[in-house]
Amino acid sequence: MVDDVFDEVGLKVEDLHASYGAVEVLRGLNFEVAAKGVSVILGANGAGKTTTLRAICNMCSTSGKVTLGEEDITRTGTAEIVRRGVAHVPQGRGTFPELSTMDNLMIGAYTRKDGEVRDDVERWFEIFPRLAERQDQLAGSLSGGEQQMLAVARALMCRPRLLLLDEPSLGLAPLIIEDLFERFGTLNKETGLTMLIVEQNANLALEMADYGYVIESGEITLSGSADQLRNDPAVQEAYLGA
């Protein structure tokens, strides 16, 4: 059990179970994400990382309790959870390959009713100039790195308070991953956006995160500040390749 280790909790997950058919993938997860902080969940393939994010968004059958800020969102529908301020960049990035870059950003703002959508598009174009150059191109024709940038920009178009990132480094070249994580860090520092990242690439993730969890076979086996985890012999051996 995690006691309230953070001053302000952005997301709280209690006794979260999830299963696909008869296979139980998550077996009672307890963890918290600090508001305005970056938390990372490390784990091997099949440990339940992706399912954790899907369970938070109610995309699979679950039991337990998920609290966003003060709100209980355990039984809230996926589309409604987005309206409450959770943006999820799923595995496979969640972009629409047959829509243009611009349309992908516009659909990201689907839940918004304010008049500043265009301003936000301009802002992300400034941060990711490559996207501006390719605004009329189909998203499916972008390079892997550009697509990941688009996925993140698309997610941020809904002005979330919590960003969930599912293995953003997957399939990208090391230099691009480094650049991407740097941007995530900047984003968090500049906007105070709460982030939960699941990653296999522990090095970069721990460098950027302030808190971390290790998940094994659907259970949290280790938690601590990013520094603690980096210096933990078990983590070093299993995830840092030391």
């Binding site: 589309a79 987005v82 799923p90 689907y110 189909l138 698309r154 809904c158």
Partner: protein, 315 residues
């Protein structure tokens, strides 16, 4: 070859082509968004033609077969107004079909859902026979169809009604494209068509969005039925053959391409008229055969149809 006769045959084929294109569009809109072939599309369309018929029939007891039709106080609608009303009813019926029959069964396999639409085909067909009888009925024409009601182009006659259905079909299509390209709902609809789960992750409520799709599709179906009811006479099985041609047209053009549906309808309509006229051993009774052969050949070369999307993805 007599060129005037050829032109005349093309002009004659254009009317049916528009009807096939229209119903094919209805099929494509639903297939694109739900991945489902709606076998009931034709019967749902015929039903709306009956609604237009009831709106037009007026208070006099011209309907035999009793039932509901006898209860509706006929209003002396003008023909365009009655068709417009029927199209709106058709759109509502389409939306209700999605809400009541398709969405609750969302977890079922595609094959199961297709079977549901076949059930809906039979149910709608029987209902029409029950309410309005199986006998063919006269349905008034929206455009003048009498002798002399045509343009003469290079000696061939292009009927006003042919021009009329194309104007209506193309206007409806332009409206649809504007809706899809320039409205938020349209963008959401395109997103759902590509990936329902990703659409949900940007906050799109998938069910209601699909309902719009069913409404739009049924609108095109209603147009097809109301515009052709005059020439083929209104009866419960009126759209059965048309549905087969529309399926061929949609498959030929690419099941997820509105452009393809339009062109597919043209190809089917033209080959149905022209090939029996110029290929001696194919009689008019076999008129659909060349169209089907063309379909098979095109699908062999382009499995996704002429304009169907070959999905692109980069990992």
């Amino acid at each position: 070859m007599d060129l005037v006769l050829l032109l005349q045959r093309i002009f004659d084929a254009l009317f049916n082509s528009a009807i096939y294109s229209s119903l094919a569009l209805a099929l494509v809109i639903i297939f694109r968004s739900t991945g489902l072939l709606n076998f009931a599309q034709g019967e749902m369309a015929t039903f709306t033609a009956y609604i237009a018929f009831v709106l037009l029939a007026g208070p006099q007891p011209r309907l035999t077969g009793g039932g509901l039709a006898g209860l509706i106080p006929g209003v002396p609608f003008s023909i365009p107004l009655a068709i417009f009303g029927a199209v709106l009813c058709g759109m509502a019926a389409g939306a209700m079909t999605e809400r009541a029959l398709i969405r609750p069964l969302g977890g079922a396999s595609d094959v199961a859902l297709v079977n549901i639409t076949i059930g809906l085909l039979l149910a709608t067909n029987s209902l029409m026979a029950q309410w309005w009888g199986t006998g063919p009925r006269f349905f008034p024409a929206i455009f003048p169809t009498g002798a002399g009601q045509h343009f003469t182009i290079l000696g061939a006659r292009l009927r006003y009604s042919t021009v009329g259905v194309w104007v209506i079909l193309l206007s409806a299509l332009i409206l649809l494209v504007l809706l899809l390209r320039h409205t938020k709902t349209g963008l959401a609809f395109r997103a759902v068509s590509i990936s329902p789960s990703n659409a949900e992750l940007v906050g799109v409520r998938v069910g209601p969005t699909l309902m719009y799709g069913w409404a739009m599709a049924s609108g095109f179906g209603a147009l097809a039925a109301c515009l052709s009811a005059n020439s083929v006479l209104l009866e419960p099985n009126m759209m059965l053959r048309v549905l087969v041609y529309a399926f061929a047209a949609a498959t030929l053009g690419g099941l997820d391409s509105p452009k393809g549906a339009l062109l597919g309808g043209l190809i089917i309509g033209l080959s149905q008229t022209l090939i029996p006229a110029y290929v001696p051993f194919i009689g008019f009774e076999l008129s659909v055969l060349p169209a089907l052969v063309a379909m098979v050949v095109i699908l062999l070369i382009r499995p996704a149809g002429l304009f169907g999307t070959q999905r692109i993805e980069r990992i």
